[in-house]
């Protein structure tokens, strides 16, 4: 069906194009396999690095990735039941992310694409989060709130690219929650039976006054809030549930408020939430309330695909391959730790996989 930009190897593949995608920007090593024909998602294999204590050290993550990469790759191929020769392209998230972690994925991807003799496709990790959310929610032209351990960004499409309308001026929302949990002994692990430990702690809490709420124009800032919360905890450890509640309430509300400002500014009628923190029920609830007076729709992404995964990389890589963009020579596939989404053309927009 799709042939123009598709390399010859796909001819073996009953007219569909299959791309394997590799994710290794942060704590997850993931391999996904996506086809241009239903059921689209053929495989989703991943391993997450969970530190026994403290935060995530890039070097340790890279060592972990190197150990599991082969297994994850094998697992994905067996899930998909495709012959490696049926793969038309190898996509890899080259950034943004942590250097040592990115290098593992890039190395695997270069080797695989050379071995299979298929194009190597560079994928921007942030864009992949948007594309998987657009694909799964059915919302095609949304304002996007992207929140994860490393990112808090409000984006929307305009004139060929995803533009950044607002972002955190310092740390990300996920980073704030994890750091607070770590410093107060709530974690790690940061997520217990599907809930963040700060959410669990906040369940019995009430709002406390005196914490900074920082929204500057379209941007947010969380470092002052984190400092204030940690100071309040030191002064009065018994009030931890109230501190958890307030930290979360201010953190979430301010990110929702900048999303609301973007929505009013661009005049669109759809909102999606994506990234690791998108699995959070409370943040989803707030966004679904926010859109009402703006006559906009909000749909949540399935929890499974909120966090980092290889499927979103494969999906975005496939869209790139079908539109003839993003293909790089393996020897020039350099990682880009600070690769901004607004540097990437997205010629398929607003369509996605399966749209005619």
């Amino acid at each position: 069906m799709v042939s123009a930009a598709t390399p010859s190897s796909s001819a073996r593949n009953r007219g569909s194009t299959v791309v394997l995608g590799i994710e290794s920007t942060a704590h997850t090593f993931g391999v996904g396999i996506v086809s241009s024909a239903p059921p689209y998602i053929l495989a989703d294999a991943r391993r997450q690095y969970i530190p026994k204590e403290g935060g995530i050290l890039p070097r340790e993550v890279a060592q972990f990735f190197s150990r599991v990469a082969g297994d994850v790759l094998r697992e994905a191929l067996s899930q998909a039941g495709v012959d490696p020769r049926d793969i038309s392209g190898v996509a890899v998230a080259l950034g943004p992310g942590m250097g040592p972690a990115l290098r593992v994925g890039a190395t695997v991807a270069r080797a695989l694409s050379s071995r299979l003799g298929v194009p190597l496709i560079a994928v921007n990790h942030a864009i992949a989060h948007i594309e998987i959310a657009r694909f799964l929610t059915g919302l095609r032209d949304p304002v996007v709130l992207y929140v994860s351990g490393g990112n808090t960004t409000v984006m929307s499409y305009s004139a060929g690219r995803y533009r950044v309308f607002g972002e955190t001026l310092d740390i990300s929302l996920g980073n704030m929650l994890d750091t607070f949990a770590r410093e107060t002994g709530l974690g790690p692990p940061y997520v217990v039976s599907g809930k963040h430990v700060v959410d669990i702690c906040a369940e019995k809490g009430e709002f406390m006054r005196g914490f900074p709420y920082v929204v500057k124009g379209q941007d947010v800032s969380y470092s002052g809030l984190l400092t204030a919360a940690l100071r309040a905890y030191k002064r009065n450890p018994e009030s931890l549930p109230n501190i958890c509640y307030t930290l979360r309430e201010i953190g979430f509300s301010s990110s929702v408020e900048v999303t609301e400002r973007c929505l009013a500014h661009v005049g669109k009628h759809e909102v999606i939430l994506t990234g690791g923190v998108a699995a959070n029920d409370e943040l989803n609830r707030k966004l679904s309330i926010m859109v009402r007076p703006h006559n906009a729709r909000f749909r949540r992404i399935p929890k499974k695909y909120a966090g980092d995964n290889g499927v979103m990389i494969a999906l975005t890589g496939l869209l790139e391959l079908l539109h003839g963009v993003g293909i790089v020579e393996p020897e020039r596939a350099f990682i880009r730790q600070r690769w901004r989404p607004d540097r990437v053309d997205v010629p398929w927009y607003p369509k996605t996989l399966g749209d005619v």
Partner: protein, 226 residues
């Protein structure tokens, strides 16, 4: 009592609705007035919501009164009701600078110079505007220029905050008035510098930096060619 008053405000003609507030047109003791109501945000904890609306309403009222007292052409503050998030201010009858420029008003450089001078006066009094686009300047029938909408204004003397104002004006003219953008930006900065003297330079330099920093992406695409 409060609910009756809110009902009255809600019955006034809607001028505009933003993310933050609703603007309605009415009278206040016979004076043509704008009612700016910050609506309750249902997604926030009620305490956080009321704290924020109170603080933002009070801040905006304070900025307006400081600016008025300094003889800067801003709408006069008529009343403030922090607990319901309502400001009442003078209605400035006229045309937005944006519309005047769009229809090719004569003397665009002079207008930009005066707009820059007004921003310079605000900065002299430690006020950043937060959104000084051409939509937020109004030309009255008698030819006076006013600056409006202090919803994102703040008391600050930080170079960075002031530079963002300059940057925002420049970005606004380059997207809305591309053909005149260079003229408008140059004249705006002339006006700004005429008020601020020596203090203008670091702010203007920082504004250049912000443009190249890449947080505001449109500009970087035109300036920074890979």
């Amino acid at each position: 009592m409060i609910s009756q008053f809110l009902e009255f405000v809600s019955s006034l003609d809607l001028l505009a609705r933003g993310a933050e507030s609703e603007l309605r047109k009415g009278h206040y003791y016979g004076v043509p007035a704008v009612y700016k109501l910050r609506r309750r945000k249902e997604y926030m904890d009620p305490s956080l919501d009321s704290d924020l609306r109170r603080a933002r309403t009070l801040k905006e009222a304070k900025v307006l009164s400081v600016a008025s007292r300094a003889n800067i052409p801003v709408p006069l503050l008529l009343a403030v009701y922090p607990s319901i998030g309502l400001l009442v201010m003078q209605y400035i009858e006229g045309e937005r600078l944006k519309e005047a420029l769009d229809r090719g008003v004569s003397g665009h450089c002079d207008l930009a110079r005066r707009a820059g001078a007004i921003l310079g006066m605000l900065h002299e009094h430690g006020i950043s505007h937060g959104d000084p686009t051409t939509s937020n300047y109004i030309i009255t029938d008698s030819g006076d220029l006013y600056i409006i909408d202090f919803g994102l204004a703040d008391f600050t003397s930080e170079i960075e905050d002031l530079a963002v104002d300059i940057h925002l004006f420049r970005r606004a003219v380059s997207s809305s008035h591309a053909r005149l953008a260079e003229d408008l930006a140059r004249c705006f900065i002339e006006g700004y510098s005429s008020v601020r003297g020596e203090k203008a330079r670091p702010v203007i330099e920082r504004a250049e930096e912000i443009m190249l920093r890449g947080r505001y992406v449109e500009e970087r695409r035109t300036v920074w060619k890979p």
